[in-house]
Amino acid sequence: MKSQNLTPHGDAAGTPSGRRGFLAIAAVGMTGILLAPGVRLIEIAQAAPAAGTTSAGAIAKVRWGMLIDSNQCRSGCTDCVNACNSENGLSGGTLPTDSQWIRKIEIKDVRNGKTQSLPMMCQHCAEPPCVDVCPTGASFKRADGIVLVDRHRCIGCRYCLMACPYKARSFVHEPLTHQKPDVPRGMGTAEACNLCVHRVDRGEAPACVAACAAAGHAAMLFGDLNDPASEIAKRIASYSTRQIRENLNLDTGVRYIGI
């Protein structure tokens, strides 16, 4: 019955009604596109990727970080370095042309002779200089704060090696074979500690942290700096921690106790 009522009405109106209807729908559509005052497109654009990755990917709510207690770190122990090498398929060489994603350094206070040992790697800065200088956008920071190299875009210019104040980046000089399926690496690209991103995405801690804990040193702690309930955030809130080269204001994701 309804359709019978409607059909003659539509016929009577004819084409002008159709046009008017179209214009009305178009007007409603345009109003929808117009933004409310105070809403800027840039905010919507920046919110979009984070919202898109919440289901399964990296989200900006999380910031992965590491806390290293140099009082617990033993001089001469290289468990973290070995674990990194075997996890990521690195040769373990220490020549200038070998990739080193993590290295142990010894520091000495010249006034009193006190020595300390600590691991150094990519500090996963919130304001990474390597990302600033990269001409192709290959060096990038993931939403959850992990700084990575997109080797698909890396042209091997090595600006990032120069820009990093921590000497964390390495360059692959020679062809590689037998890479790990989870850790692609190749000649002509820059690389550095990726915080074992494949393990983190599986919900595991990085290999160095796991190895340190397995050896019973517990000098390394991994977690979400943004989550006040996490162990790492609690410790940072209760102990005095340092960032290396704090004066550069890079807001590093790797923090140290006891230096």
Partner: protein, 142 residues
């Protein structure tokens, strides 16, 4: 007289040759068109390890590079590791039973087709061309 008979013999033999050629050439063409000729190289498609592919094989042949290109950015930049079209999964299924690889030998899955199409693969300059378990085995050996 002798000259004329020789000439006739020559013409007849030429005609025979021509007839033979005309008979042979179309047969050779037909054979080539069917693709059974050994002169035309064909890619060797090694059997995958199991199950069905993530999409129809004819679709994958044309579009695998687009799928991989799209998902690599999601994985690396977005951290989404749940995608259906991962290179790791391709390799896990398509690695040769003999070489445990997709590129080590000319008959291996990726290599044979790319040789046929004359398209260079860059993937395996960085990515492992073997599944995880076989890589582990190989590294334990020495």
């Amino acid at each position: 007289m002798a000259g004329r008979s020789t000439q006739r013999l020559f013409i007849v033999s030429m005609l025979c040759w021509l007839a033979a050629l005309l008979a042979v050439i179309p047969a050779a063409w037909a054979q080539a068109a069917q693709g059974s000729s050994s002169r035309v190289p064909q890619p060797v498609i090694e059997t995958a390890r199991g199950g069905e592919c993530v999409a129809d094989p004819s679709f994958m042949r044309r579009n695998h590079m687009k799928l991989l290109m799209h998902q690599r950015d999601d994985t690396l930049r977005g951290g989404i590791r749940t995608g259906k079209y991962s290179l790791k999964a391709c390799i896990a299924c398509h690695a040769s039973q003999r070489s445990q690889s997709v590129t080590a030998e000319p008959s291996n899955f990726c290599q044979s087709c790319h040789n046929y199409a004359a398209v260079k693969i860059d993937c395996f300059e960085c990515h492992a061309n073997k599944p995880a378990d076989s890589t582990a085995m190989q590294q334990d050996k020495p």
